[in-house]
Symmetry: C2
Subunit: 186 residues, 2 copies
DNA sequence: TTGGAAACTTACTTGTTAGTAAGTATATTT
DNA sequence: AAATATACTTACTAACAAGTAAGTTTCCAA
């Protein structure tokens, strides 16, 4: 794999997560990387193409995280906390997650980027519902709704608190994700 | 007040909530309203100006809702449910709320639009924390965290579930907001 | 009836956008 | 040594963006 290609994806992701899909341009990338506009088009013919590749990279990262946890056989609470760490890191870097960054722009995305974003969100949600469900089965978690609804709510909390804490600085992010976890304990 | 001016604000808000701030143009507005580009600039010299006015309109609407509830002296649960109705309506119209629509674009907004968005979010959060706190005092609600943290979590749930339900259609939105309310009951 | 304000349109400008066609340098393979 | 592929640059284009200056119509008040 080309190092320039990887830098473009990395920077593109960063721009999406800090400024949004429709607020970044190929110029932003080429200027920052010290290359020409056409060089970006060489690797990613269209912006849609780049967007799709960025989401795919994120899917891969998520899959690797899940695999990695399977290897170390974490329990459900540890898995959830590992997942939440991604959001704590994002918050520290003042970035949104890709789902939260691309979600509001959904109607302006190309079909392929939409498809990948749906696939990613579905994967995360299914994984979350799974660990919430099996965690409840083991008595690690306790909640009334069905696991998918609760997973949706947990993800919503994580996604939006990144967005809101950008607007409202006076919030203690730690207490927010603590409340999410505490709300699941028996 | 001019009817054209009001139509521009209404359409502008709709565009922000369906496509995002950076994905709509003065052309979109002028074409739809059958007027010229410059006519939009006549009422709103800059896009920043229009954005700010749209947020201010939303603040006013929120204030009117709060006032209206004071008049009919609703209890805390009724107030919360009235607020949630805004989100149910937004979901039906396939729109985000302005906070959720502008939040991800925060870094690209003008200072005045940022200021108004902060003011709006702060208002909503304070109001929510107030009714959650006093509701808990009366035994209507029950939760462990401090009211502001819980308010942050409730708002996050509402804001992000609009975004996520746009990506994931297979979700029953009713059960989501029901879970938010149920999670507050003693 | 005339002056002026309100509500626009006409006709631009300037900058930025995604995207492309054709060329060049460098390394690798045949 | 010649051919080919990789990784770009040069030099564009066409469309669209926000924004403006100057004019026009319409209505109302003095």
């Amino acid at each position: 794999m080309s190092v320039t290609r990887e830098k473009i994806i990395e920077l593109g992701e960063s721009l999406i997560r800090t400024r949004g899909y429709n607020a970044f341009s190929y110029q932003d990338i080429s200027t920052e990387l010290g290359i020409k506009n056409a060089a970006v088009h060489y690797y990613f013919p269209s912006k849609s193409n780049l967007g799709t590749s960025i989401v795919r990279t994120n899917i891969q990262r998520f899959e690797e995280m899940v695999e990695n946890m399977q290897g170390r056989d974490f329990d459900e609470l540890q898995k959830l906390e590992t997942f939440i760490k991604i959001y704590i890191k994002s918050h520290r870097e003042n970035k949104l997650c890709i789902v939260g960054a691309l979600g509001p722009d959904f109607n302006t995305l190309s079909d392929s980027t939409k498809t990948e974003l749906i696939r990613m969100t579905e994967m995360v949600l299914n994984w979350l519902a799974d660990i919430l469900g099996s965690g409840r089965g083991k008595g690690i978690f306790s909640f009334k709704e069905d696991p998918r609804t609760r997973a949706f709510l947990v993800l919503s909390g994580l996604v939006a608190s990144l967005q809101l804490s950008r607007v409202i600085e006076k919030i203690d992010y730690k207490s927010v994700h603590q409340a999410i976890v505490e709300g699941l304990k028996p």
